[in-house]
């Protein structure tokens, strides 16, 4: 089961910064700056990083919701940027996206049964006659009740809406789901429900996930491989157990130590980073992390570290490792 499903190579996405009376481009936000990811079928790749590090942009650029600036995205061997609109549309069912915000990703004026059903109709996965049955089927799979089929999104709670989003994606029988922080808007008690659902579905359907999160503990629970992003660049990737037992990059270490642990009065040795995340429009030269890195040395300020393999399928971009 190690068939490559998604292959992202050297992906870059720069957003122009417009300003002034004429909306002139005055610079670029390097939201994604040279990222490579490989996901095998049935695998879960966790992408962590702080706000603004470009996680969502990676997801959206893979799905061609934005145009890329550079790089290559191959899904099942097909270059997604090499196909035309209609071909892309026909590829879409196999790769789906689940959004962070369950409130804004559902159209408030479309009944959920219709929302789930229309995608099947548009891709010829159901006919007008049997679409309702199909919808009920996926709803059931996602833990939604049949009697809710004709309700509007506002009649659901956040957790239920996230289920609807998942059901809508599942209705297309995808191979890959890109989940963009699907649980961070939810309460703890509901988070667990959704995470469990993700796991169950993976078992049943053999799905692969690109699971985007800023919460390392969730990623540890769910993913087989993890990548850590900072300011648009990948800092470290490794298989889960490797990463959590042996984090190499100072940023990864800081992230891990910053997570508050629900054990009172536990005196941990903690790395509190100084300063703020720099703007991606104007990232520091050299290693992007050097401005906050407690271990930074001179070379970090001038030279960009290479993304190296350090054994055990563990890659890291740091001069001092």
């Amino acid at each position: 089961m190690s068939k490559v499903l998604l292959e992202v190579k050297n992906l870059k996405k720069y957003f122009p910064i417009k300003a002034g009376l004429l909306n002139r481009t005055v610079g670029h936000v390097k939201a994604v700056d040279d990222i490579s990811i490989t996901i095998n079928a049935g695998e879960t790749f966790g992408l962590v990083g702080e706000s603004g590090s470009g996680k969502s942009t990676v997801g959206k650029t893979i799905l061609r919701l934005h145009d890329k600036t550079e790089g290559e995205v191959k899904f099942k061997g097909i270059d997604l940027y090499g196909v035309n609109k209609e071909e892309l549309r026909s590829l879409r069912p196999k790769m789906q996206l689940i959004f962070q915000d369950p409130y804004s990703s559902l159209n408030p004026r479309v009944r959920i049964g219709d929302a789930i059903g229309e995608v099947m109709l548009d891709h010829g996965l159901a006919t007008k006659e049997n679409v309702r049955d199909h919808v009920l089927e996926v709803m059931e799979l996602c833990g939604l009740s049949a009697y809710q089929i004709d309700r509007f999104p506002h009649e659901f709670s956040g957790g239920q809406r996230q289920r609807i989003g998942i059901a809508r994606a599942l209705a297309l029988n995808p191979d890959l789901i890109i989940a963009d922080e699907p649980v961070s808007a939810l309460d703890v008690s509901i988070q667990a429900q959704i995470i469990n659902l993700f796991q169950q579905l993976q078992k049943k359907r053999g799905l692969a996930y690109l699971f985007i999160s800023h919460d390392l503990s969730v990623v540890e629970h769910l993913c087989t491989r993890v990548g850590v992003m900072y300011l648009g660049s990948m800092m470290e990737t490794a298989p889960r157990d490797e990463l959590f037992s042996n984090p190499l990059h100072p940023y990864t270490k800081a992230l891990m130590s910053a997570i508050p642990v629900p054990v009172p009065k536990l005196k941990r040795e903690r790395i509190v980073l100084k300063g703020d995340i720099p703007s991606p429009a104007n990232p520091p030269a050299g290693c992007k992390f050097h401005t906050r890195c407690p271990f930074a040395v001179d070379i970090c300020k001038s030279q960009k570290p290479e993304f190296r393999h350090v054994g055990n399928d563990h890659y890291v971009a740091c001069h001092i490792v």
Partner: protein, 317 residues
């Protein structure tokens, strides 16, 4: 920055060029011309006059002469008024401007005050009354309310003059003159304010409603600020911001005159002149004036943009 301005300028010129064509050809399409106005003229004399006025030349040629003159700042010579168009503007526009600027000032003033209070007291009796009042003001035909006011305040009560801008034959100067003009403009200004204040109040009210729901208003209260400071220091500033851009859009209105009200109140403004020129098809004046407004509109848009980019710290360059 200078390339910005250059591009912006080019864009303005293009829009104006488009507007000039539209204006010219619209008027060219309008049935009748200055000469056809006079029934007593024989056909030959009409042809002769058309020749003198250049009305017989091909459309395109006429347009080219007209626009090239405009570029040189020459808006032409009014046929009916026998005066250069710009001179006429100078005679009339300022009167319209006076009326408009005063009315606009009061309109904004009342709109802000009433809008703020009624937003603050949303759903209160005051708010409901304001809403009804606003709609009421919005639903009266202006010519009618004009007549009504003249009848009541000028003819019956003798409180205010029935029309005009100064007392006829008056030689008043200085303060007495100002007083005279103020008296004469009171009624038209009241009506203009009445007609305009409604939509603006609604606008401010809804801006204000949005703003007072914002978190930073709660923060201001949590700091222990007085309610008045919260409203006028913290809320109003934010509520005004989107309105600031409207200022630019008011520009053409300030100089455009009000056809109906000027007519009813005998106000010596450009709107009246425009109307009377229209009926005799005094094209140089009509096109010149319309072009003048188009230029003001474009400048107004520019001002709006600049204001938008300078008043709100969030969008500053």
């Amino acid at each position: 920055m200078s390339t910005y301005l250059l591009r912006r300028f080019i864009y303005m010129v293009l829009i104006l060029l488009g507007a000039s064509m539209l204006i010219f050809f619209l008027y060219a399409l309008t049935p009748g011309d200055f000469v056809s106005n006079n029934m007593n003229l024989s056909a030959e004399r009409k042809a002769e006059l058309r020749e003198i006025y250049g009305l017989s030349k091909p459309l395109l040629e006429r347009y080219m002469t007209w626009i090239s003159h405009i570029f040189q700042g020459d808006f032409g010579y009014s046929l009916a008024q026998q005066k250069p168009v710009l001179e006429l503007f100078n005679d009339y526009v300022w009167n319209s401007f006076l009326l408009a600027i005063v009315a606009t000032f009061f309109t904004w003033f009342f709109a802000v005050v009433v809008g703020v209070i009624s937003a603050y007291k949303q759903y209160s009796l005051f708010d409901t009354l304001v809403m009804i009042g606003i709609f009421a003001a919005m639903s009266i035909p202006s010519f009618f309310i004009g007549l009504f006011f003249i009848k009541i305040f000028a003819v019956d009560l003798h409180l205010l003059p029935p029309g005009g801008m100064t007392s006829t034959g008056s030689n008043a100067v200085g303060l007495a003159y100002v007083e005279d003009v103020i008296k004469h403009m009171t009624l038209p200004v009241i009506i203009m304010v009445l007609l305009g204040v409604g939509s603006l109040t609604r606008y401010f009210r809804s801006n204000m409603l949005d703003v007072i729901k914002q978190d930073y208003i709660r923060t201001a209260r949590a700091k222990g600020l007085r309610e008045r400071a919260v409203l006028y220091r913290h809320a109003l500033k934010n509520a005004m911001l989107p309105a600031i851009t409207l200022v630019g859009f008011e520009l053409p209105g300030l100089f455009g005159g009000s056809i109906i009200l000027e007519k009813i109140f005998n106000w010596p403004g450009i709107g009246q002149l425009y109307m009377s020129s229209f009926t005799v098809r005094d094209y140089p004046l009509l096109m010149g004036f319309t072009m003048f407004l188009a230029i003001l509109t474009v400048i107004g848009t520019l001002i709006s943009d600049i204001l938008y980019h300078t008043t709100d710290p969030r969008v500053r360059l």
